[in-house]
């Protein structure tokens, strides 16, 4: 069988949250708008800024106070996460009217495989992208940018580096033209390469994406092994493939339906937590959320992982450790006991700004080994009752007493999606 070359698009919504708000509030037209985590607090973070606000120098993730200083007439909007999810699904639906191969990659980015639909546009994928762009704009008021190539990594790269910056919002990046395009870009533009990785590449003498692509893979593995030890071969190959634009992964619409391999929650705290007492409160709350989701999906997990991070991401402090429990479980108190062990063993006393709990290595919760010394049935019956209450009336209907202490975050979190207001 002849290999048919694919045509993949990565469509990205411009300033998604801010654009949704502008589309819903015609009175904001022509004004700079930001969506900010907590408009009442100047220390809140800018989640999205519309192009007008960006033109005044406002950037995503900066403090609201700084944004106001740069752009005093900025309109500040409280996030509505549930609405953004609804619009994102509406956009997926629009893409699906062109091809059934649509894979959401995040709330504002989706992969579209249009190989099978191109004949209706006489093979002109740029024209097709422009039509989809118009369609989404007309129905939702959101402007999308399209990176187009023969695979997902090149489509993503084309979008991030070119389509977001050009006039039309559509850019085609052919794989045989990388030498004059992608390879001329500095190494920090490489997908998946963060600050620290960029720094490491520079110290290896790799300054551009082309330098990386043209380093023989075996040599790159050797260079990375010297820095990161034996287990870096996989990452070496990953970066090398990204730089060379090699990616055979399919656009997978059902990717989100597959059973998860782990379930985790993490939370950024409103301030630094410095005592074990305080950390235990959020640890319990996170464990409860994780276990609640596992119970809802019918999983019991045996491996528990706990992570804590300090506030300064450039000087990382904290830990991420896991342990195997005696038996698989989804009973909050049992998982919490193990989580506290990890916290007590690995926390070095530095202030903590971000806490995460993850449960993994699942088995089906219908069949489980009876434990001799634990009255699991009683806790399970209790949790069935509290889960049912929360399902019906929301997570804040019943909670643990510690959640009412100043360290507790459960009440605040129950009104949020992804850490932001619903």
């Amino acid at each position: 069988m002849a290999v048919v070359s694919r045509t993949i698009m990565l469509a990205d919504c411009q300033s998604f949250y801010a654009s949704v708000e502008k589309a819903h509030h015609p009175e904001y037209a022509g004004k700079p708008v930001v969506v900010a985590g907590d408009p009442e607090r100047r220390s809140g973070i800018v989640l999205a800024a519309c192009p007008l606000a960006k033109a005044k120098g406002v950037t995503t993730a900066e403090r609201l106070g700084e944004a106001i200083a740069k752009c005093p007439d900025v309109v500040i909007v409280r996030p509505r996460m549930a609405e953004y999810i609804r619009v994102s699904l509406q956009i997926s639906e629009i893409y699906r009217s062109y091809t059934d191969l649509v894979e959401p990659y995040s709330i504002d980015e989706q992969f579209i495989d249009v190989t099978g639909a191109l004949h209706r546009y006489s093979g002109d994928y740029e024209e097709m992208a422009r039509q989809i762009q118009q369609h989404v704009l007309a129905e939702t008021g959101i402007y999308c940018r399209f990176g187009i190539s023969e695979n997902k990594i090149l489509a993503k790269t084309a979008c991030d580096n070119y389509a977001k910056k050009n006039e039309s919002g559509v850019y085609v990046l052919p794989k045989d033209k990388l030498a004059g395009t992608l390879w001329t870009l500095p190494i920090q533009k490489l997908f998946m390469a963060g600050n620290r990785m960029t720094h490491h590449f520079r110290s290896m003498g790799i300054e551009t994406i082309g330098d990386l692509a043209n380093t023989p893979l075996e040599r790159l593995k050797l260079l990375m092994r010297r820095k990161f030890g034996k287990n870096s071969d996989i990452n070496a190959e990953l970066y090398w493939r990204i730089a060379n634009g090699e990616d055979d992964s399919p656009v997978t619409p059902q990717t989100h339906e597959e059973a998860p391999k782990s379930i985790g929650h993490q939370m950024t705290l409103p301030r630094d937590y410095g005592t074990l007492e305080e950390l235990k409160v959020v640890l319990l709350e996170l464990t409860e959320l994780v276990c609640q989701r596992c119970r809802g999906k019918g999983f019991m997990g045996q491996v528990i992982a706990v992570g804590c991070q300090g506030a300064d991401f450039d000087r990382p402090t904290g830990f991420f450790r896991q342990m195997k429990m005696m038996d698989p479980t989804n009973v909050t108190n049992q998982v919490y006991r193990a989580a506290v062990q990890l916290l007590e063993r690995y926390w070095d006393g530095n202030p903590v700004r971000k806490v995460g709990v993850t449960l993994a290595q699942f088995q089906d919760s219908e069949h489980y080994q009876l434990a001799l010394f634990d009255d699991r049935e009683r806790s399970m019956a209790l949790e069935r009752a509290t889960d049912a209450l929360k399902e019906k009336y929301g997570d804040s209907i019943i909670m643990r007493a510690v959640s009412m202490t100043p360290a507790g975050q459960a009440r605040d979190r129950s009104g949020k999606i992804g850490g932001h207001y619903k």
Partner: protein
């Protein structure tokens, strides 16, 4: 080989999806698969009832397409009993609803 380098691994390991967004995708995908029960005309019903009666009387296996809200299901076997009063029939010791039958398929062993 690592999962990051296989299948859709690169994108599964790097994506940022809100659990609430994921849940909505899954539930709307399920809703899209919802099937309306098909309405049969008299002729089709006659064909079905003849096939079911023949299967029971002649001890012949048949394949019946059955309605299910999300899946394509079939009952394959010999009809053992028919309970007209409660509107059900038995294959292999298990009762099925007569009103869920959507058609007869060619039986192939």
């Amino acid at each position: 080989m690592s999962k990051k380098l296989q299948g859709n691994g690169l994108w599964e390991s790097s994506r940022m999806m809100l659990p609430e967004h994921k849940a909505e995708i899954v539930s709307s995908a399920k809703a899209a698969k919802y099937r309306q029960p098909s309405e049969l005309d008299e002729h089709e019903w006659e064909q079905i009832s003849r096939a079911v009666a023949e299967s029971m009387e002649l001890r012949q296996p048949i394949a019946l397409r059955m309605y299910h809200p999300y899946e394509e299901t079939k009952v394959i076997g010999t009809v053992e009993r028919i309970d007209h009063y409660r509107g059900r029939f038995m294959v292999d010791g298990e009762w099925f609803e007569i009103r869920h039958i959507e058609g007869v398929d060619e039986y192939s062993a």
